[in-house]
Structure formats: structure tokens, C-alpha cells
């Protein structure tokens, strides 16, 4: 038998805020709804930004993408601050115990001969790629500020990517006895090894993009899909085959997170291209530009990391993803 505790129910005069009721009717709203919809300033801005006199402070026209209602780009995960940090706190707890396990069992010492050097050359430099992703998503947050549904999701993505960068750095510390030598060596690779220079140039280039939605495409769609496939599919398999599967514990956070975040970026992009023809055409044109750039950027890395057909496999993963979104070419 369940006993129902009686609480005093009082008559309410309304169930939610006016702007929420206009969208969803006057009924009890979710916390995601009240924390997200229509809270950003929209009109009657006082001053022109000194750094961009042609636009308003919050201004949808900073991108070529147009939306009847930008809040259609909602987050299927329904992350607002509270749900976001609580979710990531659980994931980091798991990551923490993985790092702890790795350390306690001295798994670094059990890596096969030459594996640490390979990780320094191939894996640790990814932290700089993650740092770029942090900046690129912050860029989206700064300019999508007229729509909190987008701005908060890209902020969460940006902070996640900063977290990723720190986890890659910690992998370095886990294999170099906390000296930081592996990080210095990995940065040397990033700066000077020819296999990384294409990707580094790609990263630097994304940081100079003007249209924030193009930034979103170049980073979260094109580059992330390719790099994720190379690392979380192909390189993972390679590590496992080469007796270094323990490393997968240390990248679990990044792998899981990326899968989850794709749900959001897929749904966002799908909504954008289904909005109108111009959006779809614009997105396609950005994608074709950046996938060509990514090709030359990633080729030397993919060849050295895996094999000469690794990148082709990553591109077919990208094609599959785009097709699923509705962007078959």
C-alpha cells in the first residue's frame, strides 16, 4: 500500500510566465522552458557595439542563417545550467575513477614498448584541437546571444571542450609521472611535426571565421565528425589491437560526451536546413568548403596515425552523418 502524503494545494493565478504561456499555453512549464525561452533581450538596445557598429548588441543578422523562430533550435537534452552541471558531474566522477584505477594499477608502466611516445605524438596534441573547439563554441555563444536555447548549448559545448582539453593533458601527466614532459613534447609535435600542421592551420583558420554559424559547421559538424571517427572508432581499435586498450578508459569521457553532444548538433542542424531552402544551400556550401579544407588538413595525420585509407573511412562516417541529418549530396 502506498501512502499519499497530503500537501496543501493552493489555487494559482497563473501557471507560468507570460512569454512561456504565449508559446505553450498557461500550464505548468518545465524548468528547461522557463530557464530558456525568450529570456534574451530582443529589441530597444541602447547603443551600437563599438566593436561592430553595423549590428545591434543581440542581432540575428550576424549570420546568413535565418529562422522564423530561433527557439526552434532547442536542445533535445534539455540542458539548462542545473541539469548540465549535474550531468557532467556524474560523468567526471566516472572519469575520475578511471584515472584513479589507471594510476593505482600502474597501467602506464604496462603499456607496450614505444606506446607512450606514440601517445605523445598522436593523442596528447588533441588538447590544442579541443582548445580551438572551446573558442569556437564561445564564439557562437557570444553572437547567438539573442537566443538562449542556442547560446547556452554552445556555452556548454565550449566548456565541455575545455574539459576535454584538460583530460587530454591529464593523460599526458598519467604517462609521464606528473612531470609535464609529455605535454611539452606533445606541444612540440603540434607546433612542428608536419603531420599536425594541416590541422593546426585548419584550427587557426576556424578562429578567423566571421559568421558564427559557419564556425559551428566548420567545428562541430565537419571537423568533429572526422576527428571523432579517426580517434574514437579507428584509433581506439588500433590501441586495443596493440595492447593499449587501457587508454580507452582515459578517453571514455570524451567519447561518451561526443556521442551525446551529437544528438544536439544533429537536431540543431536538421531544424536549420528544414527551415528554408536558403539555409540548406548555405549550409551545404559551408560544408563543401570545410570538408575540402579538412581533407588536406587531416591527411598527413590520418596516414601517420593509422593508414592511408583511414581518412576515407572518416569521410564516409561524415557522409553518413550528413545523410542522416538530411544533407545528402
Amino acid at each position: 500500500m502506498t501512502i499519499e502524503i497530503k500537501t496543501a494545494k493552493m489555487d494559482t493565478i497563473r501557471n507560468t510566465f507570460g512569454h512561456i504561456a504565449r508559446r505553450f499555453g498557461d500550464k505548468p512549464a518545465t524548468r528547461y522552458q522557463e530557464a530558456t525561452y525568450d529570456i534574451a533581450a530582443q529589441t530597444n538596445f541602447h547603443y551600437k557595439p563599438l566593436w561592430d557598429q553595423d549590428h545591434e548588441l543581440n542581432d540575428p543578422s550576424r549570420t546568413a542563417i535565418t529562422m522564423e523562430d530561433w527557439y526552434a533550435l532547442k536542445d533535445p537534452r534539455q540542458f539548462y545550467y542545473g541539469t548540465y552541471v549535474q550531468n557532467r558531474a556524474r560523468m567526471q566522477e566516472n572519469a575520475e575513477s578511471n584515472f584513479g584505477f589507471f594510476d593505482k594499477r600502474d597501467l602506464a608502466d604496462k603499456l607496450p614498448e614505444g606506446m607512450k611516445e606514440r601517445l605523445i605524438k598522436h593523442l596528447i596534441p588533441l588538447r590544442h584541437v579541443e582548445h580551438t573547439a572551446n573558442l569556437n563554441n564561445m564564439y557562437c555563444t557570444a553572437y547567438a546571444n539573442y537566443c538562449t536555447a542556442v547560446a547556452q548549448a554552445t556555452l556548454f559545448e565550449g566548456m565541455d571542450r575545455f574539459g576535454n582539453a584538460q583530460y587530454y593533458a591529464r593523460i599526458g601527466l598519467a604517462i609521464d609521472g606528473n612531470t609535464g614532459d609529455s605535454l611539452a613534447a606533445a606541444k612540440e609535435e603540434w607546433m612542428n611535426n608536419p603531420i599536425w600542421q594541416g590541422l593546426r592551420a585548419y584550427c587557426e583558420k576556424t578562429l578567423t571565421i566571421d559568421d558564427w554559424f559557419e564556425t559551428f559547421i566548420a567545428q562541430n559538424i565537419v571537423l568533429d565528425t572526422l576527428v571523432d571517427n579517426l580517434y574514437f572508432e579507428q584509433y581506439d581499435a588500433w590501441l586495443t589491437e596493440n595492447n593499449a586498450g587501457d587508454i580507452l578508459m582515459l578517453t571514455e569521457f570524451m567519447r561518451e560526451r561526443s556521442r551525446e553532444s551529437q544528438r544536439w548538433s544533429d537536431s540543431l542542424l536538421k531544424t536549420v536546413i528544414n527551415e528554408n531552402r536558403q539555409n540548406a544551400d548555405q549550409v551545404k556550401s559551408w560544408i563543401s568548403t570545410w570538408r575540402i579544407r579538412a581533407q588536406s588538413a587531416l591527411e598527413p595525420l590520418a596516414n601517420d596515425l593509422l593508414s592511408d585509407d583511414a581518412l576515407a573511412e572518416a569521410y564516409s562516417a561524415l557522409a553518413t552523418r550528413l545523410k542522416k541529418i538530411g544533407l545528402a549530396d
Partner: protein, 501 residues
């Protein structure tokens, strides 16, 4: 394998500071294009001292714990109809002001810190700004969720977002954040990070949260407490940015001084509403505005500026004026709102005799002489059924956007201060020398101010057709959310809940 123990500073350097690199393929200025136009000179970002060395995983962990506790209390609060525990329904008007005027400022801060968190060239400063951007998002969202329950039982909360872009007194706060956001990244950091967070937070948040604590408002006091450790981080960041700019180059000193002078004044003008809240709106008073000002600004702020002296920074020269204004601020403000409350989304009232006595006691130099007679007259008129409302629209200060209500407190506190200047053939009006100076330093910026009263006259607030149209434009629920508390639906419901006739 032997494992070295890393100290926090080294660890932070390895985990964070080393992530950035010197560009080889693009001009770094194209990636960080706004670092120079303000005239600030950064010679070496490596000199940035990280104010708190928080890694992202630690951030998630701490913040999640705080959120979990906070929302548990919110749930309990609404389940138990926590709104019934406030001292009196008049109190709720204080948090209506908070939600409509302050909370949207949190979102503006979030957006501004996202901008600086993307655009500052140094990674240490950037990450600190990004975390603050995330915190400020937390603040608006936790505030909305706290007020969500009150909104179901009281008028005046429901259109907070719509009003933020439109209503006359709220544009004071919006223009403050718009001003900061439209400036360059370094001015923003000084404006919000330093002047607002470091110097003024104690005078804005602490009074509201203490007011909540004294008046039984569990929801508000809980988010106040929960935000405290965020604010502590924000304050250290604010101080760090100032010290960093001052140490980078001597040419930065006069620029930073100008920003401090401007932003302390801008912030101080906003505090007018806090002064009024403390002295008039809390059924259970915490302390007078004058006492708060002395405690949190004259003492704490004095020590801070002593500390900055070695960099060549001086206390703004208007501090004597604000010292004198503390005797008048709250009284002038409440009177303004009382006489214009047909156009406010909160209720006003005449202080009770007991409250008048309290004010006389707290303001012995000024209250009986200048303000008490006004309230006694207002009461007489109201008793006769001639409750006084100001029919006309007030003239606004071009800079701070507050109606011309401030008087010449250093000479004759009965005289309203009017200042004006001509720019490109047009005359602009100000409430003070300080607001005039701010305008004169950047007239191209301030000529664009969206002044609510001008906009009404130009027919941009619901079109021609008088105040009724304006109220529609505001979505102000006339007869419910505005005017006197006495006789309002809020009062009626409160009496029913409390079983008083």
C-alpha cells in the same frame, strides 16, 4: 613509476595555460581583433595571475553539489507554499523589482563574459571569463526558478522578460549592461568585473538577500547563499583584471581611471533602487541605506582604493557628493515611484507611522526636514480619496536614464539638479555633472540611448494614443500589477490566505 606531486600553479599551467599557441598560419589579430581599439596596451599575457585555478571537472563537481541542494530547497519551498511565510505581501514587491530589473542583467553579464571569454588574447583571463559567463547563466536561471513559484501567486512577475526591453525604470538597468556590452572587452571587464562585481555587489546582492532573510523569503535567500561562492570568484577576477591592466603598461592607468570613474558612477546611480528597497519596501528592515553605504562602501571601498593607490589610481572625485546623497537617495526614489506607480509593475504604499518614525530616527538630518511632511501630505490626500499621481512624463537623464529627481544636496536639497549640453546642434539633459561628463567623453555613443520617455513621445511605445497604449506595450496588467498595494488583488489574496478580513 615514481609520481611527482605537482603544485597547483604548475598543474594549472600545464592543464590550462599551455593550451594556446603562437599562430603560424593566420594573423592572431584576425582571431582576437578587439584587443587594441580601446587603447589598452598588453605587453605580455603570460604575466596574468590566475585568480582561481579551477579545472573544469572541479567546476562541474562543486557547482553540481550546490545546484542539487538549491533545487531541493526550491522543491520544498513550492510544495509547502513557502510564499505564505514572508513577513507581509508588501515584501514581495522587492523581489518583483529584482526579477524584472536585476535578473535580466545576469543574462546580459553572461553574454558579455562570453564575448570577453572568446576575445581576450590571454587564455588565463579567457577561461576565467568563460566560467563567469557560465555562472551568470546560472544566476538568471536559478533566479527565474526561484521566482517561478511567486509568479503563480502574485502579480507583477509574469512579464519580466517582455518588460526588460521596454519599461521606463527598467531601462536604467538595461542601459547599464548595454553600455558595458557595447564597449570593448577591457572596458567591459572593468565595468562589470571590477566596478560592479568587486565594488558594488555588496550593495546590491547583499541588501536584497538580507532583505529576503529578514522577511522569511526562503527561496531568494537560498539562491543568494548559493551564489555567494560564485560571487567570491567574480570579485577576485575583477580585482585581478584591474591589477593586470595597471601593471601591463603605464599608459593604461589613465584609461582605467576614466573607466573606474565612469562605472562606479553608473553603478551607484542604479543603487538608488536598492536604497529605496531597503528603507521603504522591507516590512522587516535590515538596516538603513545610509548605514549600508557607510559599511560597504565608505569603509570597504576606502580600503580598496588605498590598495590601488600604488598604481596611481585615485578614488573618484565625486565621493563627497555621494556621501551627501546617502541622506536623500531612498526618499527621493520612493517618492518618485509612489507618484508614478500607475506605470510600475510593483505596488507602492505610504509608510506607516511606525515606519516614518524609523526613517526619522535613521535620517535625523534630513527626513523630518524634507521628506516626512511630503508623506504626511500624501496620506492626508489619500485619506480624502485624492491619492496623488504624477500625470506628466518625467524628463530623463540622457546617461543614466533616471528621471530628474536628484537634488542639490550639497547646497539646497530642495533644488533639482539640471545639467545640459549641446552636441551637434541638439540639447541633451543630465541629472548630474558626472552623467554629463560621461556623455561628453563619448557623445557618439550616448546620443543613441533608447530613452523611454522620448520613445513614448515619438509614438514608438504602442503608437499614439496616450498612456493606455503604453501600458499595453509594456504588457502591464493595469489594476493588478501596478498602483497601490492597498486594495490590490495581491493584498486581497494575502488577506484571504492569512485569514484576516
Amino acid at each position: 613509476m615514481s609520481t611527482k606531486k605537482l603544485n597547483l600553479k604548475d598543474k594549472y599551467r600545464l592543464l590550462t595555460r599551455d593550451l594556446d599557441w603562437d599562430f603560424s598560419y593566420e594573423d592572431r589579430k584576425d582571431a582576437f581583433p578587439f584587443e587594441e581599439f580601446e587603447g589598452i596596451k598588453i605587453t605580455d599575457w603570460d604575466k596574468w595571475e590566475d585568480p582561481f585555478r579551477l579545472t573544469m571537472d572541479a567546476y562541474w563537481k562543486y557547482q553540481a553539489e550546490k545546484e542539487k541542494k538549491l533545487y531541493a530547497i526550491y522543491d520544498a519551498f513550492s510544495q509547502n507554499n513557502g510564499h505564505l511565510n514572508v513577513t507581509d505581501a508588501r515584501y514581495v514587491n522587492a523581489i518583483k523589482i529584482f526579477l524584472t530589473a536585476v535578473s535580466p542583467g545576469e543574462l546580459a553579464a553572461h553574454s558579455g563574459f562570453a564575448f570577453t571569454g572568446r576575445h581576450m588574447g590571454g587564455i588565463g583571463a579567457r577561461i576565467a571569463a568563460q566560467m563567469q559567463s557560465l555562472d551568470e547563466l546560472r544566476h538568471i536561471q536559478t533566479q527565474i526558478h526561484a521566482m517561478s513559484h511567486y509568479n503563480k501567486f502574485f502579480d507583477g512577475f509574469d512579464e519580466f522578460s517582455h518588460m526588460h526591453d521596454r519599461v521606463w525604470y527598467i531601462s536604467v538597468v538595461k542601459s547599464f549592461f548595454d553600455d558595458a556590452r557595447s564597449a570593448g572587452p577591457f572596458e567591459f571587464m572593468v565595468a562589470i568585473g571590477f566596478s560592479f562585481e568587486y565594488v558594488l555587489t555588496n550593495l546590491l546582492f547583499v541588501p536584497f538577500m538580507s532583505g529576503a532573510a529578514y522577511n522569511g523569503d526562503m527561496a531568494t535567500v537560498t539562491f543568494g547563499f548559493s551564489a555567494q561562492s560564485d560571487e567570491a570568484r567574480h570579485m577576485t577576477l575583477g580585482l585581478e583584471i584591474i591589477k593586470f591592466l595597471l601593471e601591463q603598461h603605464e599608459d593604461n592607468v589613465p584609461i582605467v581611471q576614466k573607466w573606474i570613474d565612469k562605472w562606479l558612477w553608473r553603478g551607484y546611480r542604479i543603487l538608488t533602487v536598492v536604497a529605496m528597497m531597503m528603507d521603504y519596501m522591507l516590512p522587516q528592515k535590515v538596516m538603513s541605506w545610509k548605514e549600508a553605504w557607510e559599511l560597504y562602501f565608505e569603509q570597504a571601498g576606502g580600503a580598496l582604493f588605498k590598495d590601488l593607490e600604488r598604481y596611481g589610481i585615485k578614488m573618484p572625485d565625486y565621493t563627497d557628493l555621494i556621501k551627501a546623497e546617502k541622506e536623500h537617495l531612498s526618499h527621493q526614489a520612493w517618492w518618485t515611484f509612489y507618484t508614478n506607480s500607475q506605470a510600475t509593475a510593483f505596488h507602492t504604499w505610504i509608510p506607516s507611522n511606525q515606519e516614518l518614525d524609523w526613517l526619522s530616527e535613521k535620517y535625523p538630518e534630513t527626513f523630518d526636514k524634507y521628506y516626512r511632511p511630503r508623506w504626511e501630505m500624501a496620506k492626508e490626500m489619500a485619506d480624502k480619496g485624492e491619492r496623488y499621481y504624477n500625470e506628466g512624463l518625467p524628463q530623463l537623464c540622457q546617461t543614466c536614464q533616471i528621471p530628474m529627481i536628484y537634488t542639490d544636496v550639497q547646497n539646497d536639497p530642495r533644488d533639482i539638479v539640471y545639467r545640459s549640453t549641446k552636441y551637434q546642434g541638439e540639447r541633451f539633459h543630465f541629472c548630474s555633472d558626472q552623467c554629463q561628463h560621461i556623455f561628453e567623453n563619448e557623445p557618439e555613443k550616448y546620443v543613441h540611448s533608447w530613452l523611454p520617455v522620448h520613445q513614448i513621445f515619438q509614438g514608438n511605445c504602442g503608437g499614439p494614443g496616450g498612456l493606455e497604449k503604453v501600458m499595453d506595450y509594456y504588457k502591464l496588467d493595469v489594476g493588478k500589477a501596478n498602483m497601490d498595494y492597498v486594495g490590490s488583488p495581491d493584498e486581497e489574496r494575502w488577506k484571504t490566505w492569512k485569514g484576516v478580513a
